[in-house]
């Protein structure tokens, strides 16, 4: 029992920090760079990805006995795509502004590398409880980093954070709202994270 509990917390910690998909695995970077122009959009993208990740991980884990080993990628794809489409419909119905702002990156969540990484590395070989905590940890880690990146970009590019003005508009640098600016800021965050974690990437 204690071992199971330890395993759950370890998976949560790994997803959150040690195997953070953005900082150390460099997965799902396309939406990270494209959507994180403001903290609000970044948080919405992170929350949406986390929801799809949790559902896919839990269902892959629960259904792993009926997913043939040779067709497991197809199984992940069908589940991830279905949850993404269903989520997209709910987003369009109840959060139309976010649906419009996130645009093409909402349906592209179906092919987000983070989901397949967690399904393959954890969900397919673990029980649903562990898969759930792994997805929650990974989702929070992903959402935190994308929101941090969005907040930094928003402050530098627009002088605001979550729409609240911090810096006068005349002192902003709009370059950071573009993809090259995002790459530079993300590189600094990754370098700092690697310095804190120490050692080499496995």
């Amino acid at each position: 029992m204690k071992e199971k509990k330890d395993n759950i917390f370890r998976r949560f910690y790994y997803g959150l920090w040690k195997e953070n998909p953005i900082l150390f695995l460099c997965l799902g970077l396309c939406p990270v760079l494209a959507v994180s122009t403001t903290a609000e959009y970044a948080l919405a993208m992170g929350a949406f990805t986390t929801a799809v990740l949790i559902l896919t991980n839990v269902f892959v884990s629960a259904l792993k006995k009926i997913i043939p080993n040779e067709q497991r990628l197809l199984g992940y794809l069908i589940l991830a795509a279905s949850f993404t489409v269903a989520g997209q419909l709910f987003l369009k119905a109840y959060f139309p502004d976010f649906s419009e702002a996130l645009g093409i990156f909402v349906p592209l969540t179906a092919v987000n590398g983070v989901i397949y990484d967690r399904a393959e590395r954890c969900a397919y070989v673990s029980n649903p409880g562990i898969a759930l905590f792994d997805a929650i940890g990974t989702g929070i880690g992903y959402t935190f980093i994308i929101t941090l990146l969005g907040a930094i970009r928003e402050i530098i590019a627009f002088g605001t954070i979550f729409g609240i003005r911090l810096i006068p508009a005349d002192y902003t640098i709009p370059f950071t709202a573009l993809a090259p600016g995002a790459c530079i800021i993300l590189a600094f965050i990754m370098a700092l994270a690697n310095k804190i974690r120490g050692g080499h990437r496995s």
Binding site: T38, L63, P68, A81, S82, F90, A93, A101, A157
Partner: protein
């Protein structure tokens, strides 16, 4: 009879189809209502004093030729459709022109331009824009929009230091999108001229 193990795999697609179908039927009413509200919002934003609207019919090919004659590249800008804004007596007060503008470095801005019969700009609304999130909002802001409203010119141009009605200042960091919006509004002005001419001055 023993069922092939792989047949169990069919449960997943069946579950997924049920999930998507259920979500579609559950949300479609709300999505439709959102879209209708957005369309009404667009129309009332660019022509608030009109009470009726009707689709305008015109020859799209002739309009494209007319735009080309006036120096507009019809691969950069396409008039999607035109709506008449009418008053209570059913007289046409102006046009709402839906324009798709292709940006210099790729991307698309879809906009609706409200323009009175005499060529005065009522306003515009951005329907869709493919630009860096945040930067795109600069051409949606009132500071930029207000530069067009109430003006009656033959064409607008971007300028660093505007001195006349026709000159528009681009917001910092959104010069490309601003130029595209200016191009779209100029296209709407030419479209008004074309429709007026092709209707024999009905818009007077």
């Amino acid at each position: 009879m023993k069922i092939n193990k792989n047949l169990w795999f069919l449960i997943i697609p069946i579950f997924c189809i049920a999930l998507i179908t259920g979500s579609f039927f559950y949300t479609r009413g709300t999505i439709k209502a959102n879209e209708a509200a957005k369309a009404n919002g667009v129309i009332s934003a660019v022509f608030p004093d009109a009470v009726r609207y009707s689709e305008a019919t015109y020859n799209k090919r002739f309009l494209a030729l007319y735009l080309e004659e006036h120096g507009y590249d019809t691969t950069d800008v396409v008039v999607d459709h035109v709506v008449y804004a009418r008053n209570e007596q059913n007289a046409v007060k102006g046009l709402i022109i839906y324009v798709n503008c292709y940006k210099k470095y790729g991307g698309l801005i879809q906009m609706a331009v409200g323009i009175q019969n005499n060529g005065t700009i009522n306003g515009y609304t951005i329907l869709d824009i493919s630009d860096a999130k945040g930067l795109e909002s600069k051409v949606k802001e009132d500071d930029f929009k207000n530069q067009f409203i109430g003006k009656n010119v033959s064409a607008f141009v971007l300028s660093d230091e505007p001195h006349s009605d026709a000159e528009i200042a681009a917001p910092n960091g959104a010069r490309d999108a601003s130029g595209t919006v200016v191009n779209g509004i100029n296209t709407a002005i030419i479209t008004l001229e074309f429709i007026d001419e092709s209707m024999g001055g009905l818009l007077e």
